[in-house]
Symmetry: D2
Subunit: 353 residues, 4 copies
């Protein structure tokens, strides 16, 4: 084990939400990290383990105000905040040599007009944005190694992008004009905000689609798919809310191009992801369940060719929305940025049952 | 209120499963029915309210053996049994003038080869099958009024067929070669059988697709769509399991034909279903939740035209899989067959929360 | 069916919470009621079925302001509001001859000092309070028939009081100094308020005790038990939160007095409740489940004498907290107040599964 | 890291149930263990990760027959089997020098007559039983260090015993004749058996007491309490089923003896458990939730003195029934038996949300 002096000094801005407590859970077990500060103006002074008693005995930190936090002393700062916070503080941290991983959307969308349309605020630091890297390690590993600012992907985009990448890169094998992602998420994706719509009595024992007319992750997925495919793709994306706490499954429907029909797609996927620590291509015909990845950083994929539809491919992708879909992926990015083995501190086995 | 003499004398074969107890719940409140007998060889002698204590004070019947049940004295017999039971007993009941409503699959598929492929048993009474009516009242109302044998639809088919009918009849408005139904069901659809896969600890707080390689409801949906459209349609159908007891939502993706793009589809649907008691076309842009129909016989629909996709239509359909998807629909069929107002005994308001 | 003229004209104040929508669900099916008005200053103008789409096709009313509502035209007004609202409006309604059923706590506690201690507000109409009747029909039936103001019981008190009444009245059979009620409630009991503690992600797949240091229903239960027993009882009451929407179970531990040990308590309970429509004494040894009463107005009881403890009696009581524990009981009270058969409009069979 | 040669060679008998997969999850992350074999006659040949895909990438073992497993080559064998299996194989393993940790009940009850009464089978190896140690490390640490056979405690007993031990040892501070444990468990405690009663549709969104007339853990708790207290205690124990997968909470009601009323019980508990890795005495007045310990080996306790009841003490205890209540505790025992730090491989932070 390294001594403390050589560990990464980490700060967290925000931290009273679910991605915050999940960062803490994972970082508390990370052998190369020291938690330096966690900020919350509202909760300043409160031990984090009083708010999240699962951390009792594991995290001694208390929330502090941003002023006291001395975040410029950190080597990396995670923003587990609402949209707009990271961009307000980025320049100051960068000036002090601190690297930034934003779990909100400030650095996900290179097109600021699109950002402003969907997030209803101007982008305050487009120059930093231009240098920010989209934090999907499996696709951007080399750029991430040198990144100063990382826009950690949305939860839905992670499933759809890793589900489709092997079909788009290096060669487009599908009709890019006709991609459907029917996605389902657990309720923790809605965050830890006091809203009637996320009450137990509103969502338990029920199921619905939401955001059908437009969801913020649609432009994010499309921008990344466009880049992978080299063309503007046609994407239909419908998110749904599942009465479970964690977990996300995307059922992705694509049409194979004629030249793809003879390709062994299972082998293609297995080859594409063969060196990945956190992407598991399950055997052909598998039916992944979200509990197969609960509380772990693994995303599992399965391919299906429904009988009687020679050009139809169905990709199933599952992840824990709070881990691979948020805080685990952020730590995976941190590992890359600091030259650590990508899986450091992320070897947890999924909880089943 | 009619006197007892004029009430419909009803028998139930099976009745130890979820469609059985749901039939009993609804029939116990039906003003024009007397429950004559309920059979279960295994549970003969047991009061049904001992097995299903929600019925205490409402149903006094005990299970009896088929021999004791004198089903031939009934006017109508519901089969809430595994596949294959109704066809074994149908001829004898018909000979006695008893009408039959089968909640299993024996009388759903006119093509016996398809039946045998999917249900792994020969069809023992193809002549009765030929005269059987597919029990979807909104589409087959006139035929049902005179039916002697009704094949009550599967739960998934009800959502997809009612979701698409206005687009196919009288005129085909969509690309029939490219229909996708991404359907999600509560766990009660799996029945009340002792199976590891339906244990609470296996399915709670998790989500999965299943039957991706082929589900028995696929040929049923396709056969009915083929008939509605007058051509062989291309259907991709993927069912999913939601950790909730009751409820079903289908997200249906279709492509509009050029001539359909100028049609007011919302008005078309509202017109198509304007006289229906149990189909509710919600305002455009609505996002129906399964709890909006919990424990009621109503199916609610909503239409969405996602921005940027002028030819894409998304239909959302929700129902309670045990009511409109099974036992409620069976009673709706019974009402039709006996000349009662279709909604008799089915006016329950959905339970929310 | 009576004609409209003879129906009870009903108003509801509040109605955007769970007891409100449950009142609407039940009153919409009540044959002797016309819904006259439902008020919500905040939602004025909104059709109630837009907020609660389960009511689509059943309730046409829109929310109105209290000013527009003309509540003084009603024969009875239900208050489904926070504590303190009913007492502010009671005098005006009473002056107009309107009867009042308050589902909050304003008229539950005769001791205003206790009320003020627990509800943190002065009681503004102690004279009305003195004439108010505690709305537990099984114990106060005669007084309720002539009541002008009814304090509808809390959900927990209903289970504990009906669970213990046969042991206290006409004769005390238990050690009144040592009563323990370990109660468990579904989350809908917390209401439809935007609070972090009731979010799905906070309470699903978890379990806790709450209010251990003191819960508002403790003084209410104690006051009624004191009255039944004729002495000041010693009550330990610990509520717990169950990850389910509806339902409540109280496990009540008492010690039998020596003279009670020879009594057939099962027979005593059956006799005590033999004429009750909504109390079901299950066979000795039964283990009632909350789903046995889901969405129905029935409370089911079972008695247990654990082996090896001759003086220990355990009473299990289950109800739907929103029906018998709130809105159903309120309607049962209304029926009594207007001379209708007590079960009118309340014959729903519990939903299982 | 130690080299493989020095690691503990572990075998598992059974392993197709929830305690089995939980053992595998935890042992796969244990730095001092090599998994040698896992047996299941029925599943022989199947990779365990095919049955439990959460283990993909973490456990390469396949199930083997007992014959092939060469369990006598192991240093320790866990039995994650139905009751009766361990006692049938114990002598042979002991003769080979293998230590045994049984997660079933074969070695929990020293009184074979009681065992036979509750488990309906004769005890086949009473001499081994006499030397077996009850595997509750916090109470039996020294004996466990030299144990050859460990009876791993039941889940309920762990909560009640750790909840009461400081009140009984070294000095009895409570009325031992009047102990009530009202316990609530998640459904995984029922195991991974195909039984109707544990189906999702039977237990979800519902709550019940069970085993009120007698539960197998009653004699186990009583035997251990008797030993702690040095007298025969009077225990009322009522288990309940909570619609959640994991988690257990016991609400324990006791009466303080006069001499206990002046003692600072909070300090007493904190002192009693001050050196324990896995028992957390929360601050006075805390309300522990089962999710505070989900998937971790920690048991958390809180004490309450309800106002107005000077002699009443309420102890709340939560644990994950599959970890501290089963497999985690088994590994804690193994660590003790092999001279490892007790927390080795058990440092997982609880999963919240």
């Amino acid at each position: 084990m390294q001594n403390t002096a050589s560990k990464i000094k980490v700060g967290i801005v925000g931290g009273t939400g679910y991605t915050g407590v999940e960062l803490l859970r994972l970082l508390a077990q990370h052998p190369q990290v020291t938690l330096h500060a966690i900020t919350s103006r509202k909760e300043a002074g409160l031990p984090v383990a009083d708010m999240f008693p699962n951390l009792r005995g594991h995290v001694d930190l208390a929330f502090t105000t941003p002023e006291e936090a001395a975040l410029t002393d950190c080597e990396v700062v995670f923003f587990a905040t609402p949209h707009g916070v990271a961009m307000a503080q980025a320049q100051q941290l960068l000036d002090a040599g601190v690297r930034i991983i934003d779990l909100a959307a400030d650095f996900r969308l290179q097109d600021t007009a699109v950002f402003e349309q969907w997030y209803k605020m101007p982008h305050s630091c487009p120059e930093i944005l231009r240098k920010a890297i989209y934090g999907l390690p499996e696709l951007n590993r080399h750029a991430l190694a040198n990144a100063r600012v990382v826009g950690n992907p949305g939860c839905y985009p992670t499933t759809v992008l890793l589900g489709l990448a092997p079909l788009l890169k290096p060669k487009v094998l599908i009709d890019t004009g006709d991609i459907i992602a029917d996605s389902k998420s657990g309720v923790s994706g809605a965050g830890r905000k006091a809203e009637v719509g996320a009450l137990f009595s509103e969502v338990s024992d029920s199921f619905k689609a939401y955001g059908v007319a437009g969801h913020r992750h649609h432009p994010e997925i499309k921008a990344q798919l466009d880049q992978l495919a080299g063309v503007s793709v046609g994407l239909t994306f419908v998110p749904h809310l599942v009465p479970m706490v964690r977990g996300m499954l995307s059922t992705i429907y694509v049409k194979l191009l004629p030249e793809a029909k003879s390709i062994d797609l299972q082998a293609l996927y297995e080859s594409f992801y063969q060196n990945e620590t956190f992407v598991d291509v399950m055997p052909a015909g598998s039916q992944p369940e979200t509990r197969f990845v609960r509380a772990s950083n693994t995303l599992r994929l399965a391919l299906h060719r429904p009988p009687g539809h020679p050009d139809r491919l169905i990709v199933l992708a599952v992840q824990d929305n709070l881990v691979k879909g948020a805080s685990g992926q952020a730590i995976q990015n941190m590992n890359l940025m600091f030259g650590l083995p990508e899986g450091t501190g992320l070897s947890q086995v999924a909880i089943l049952p």
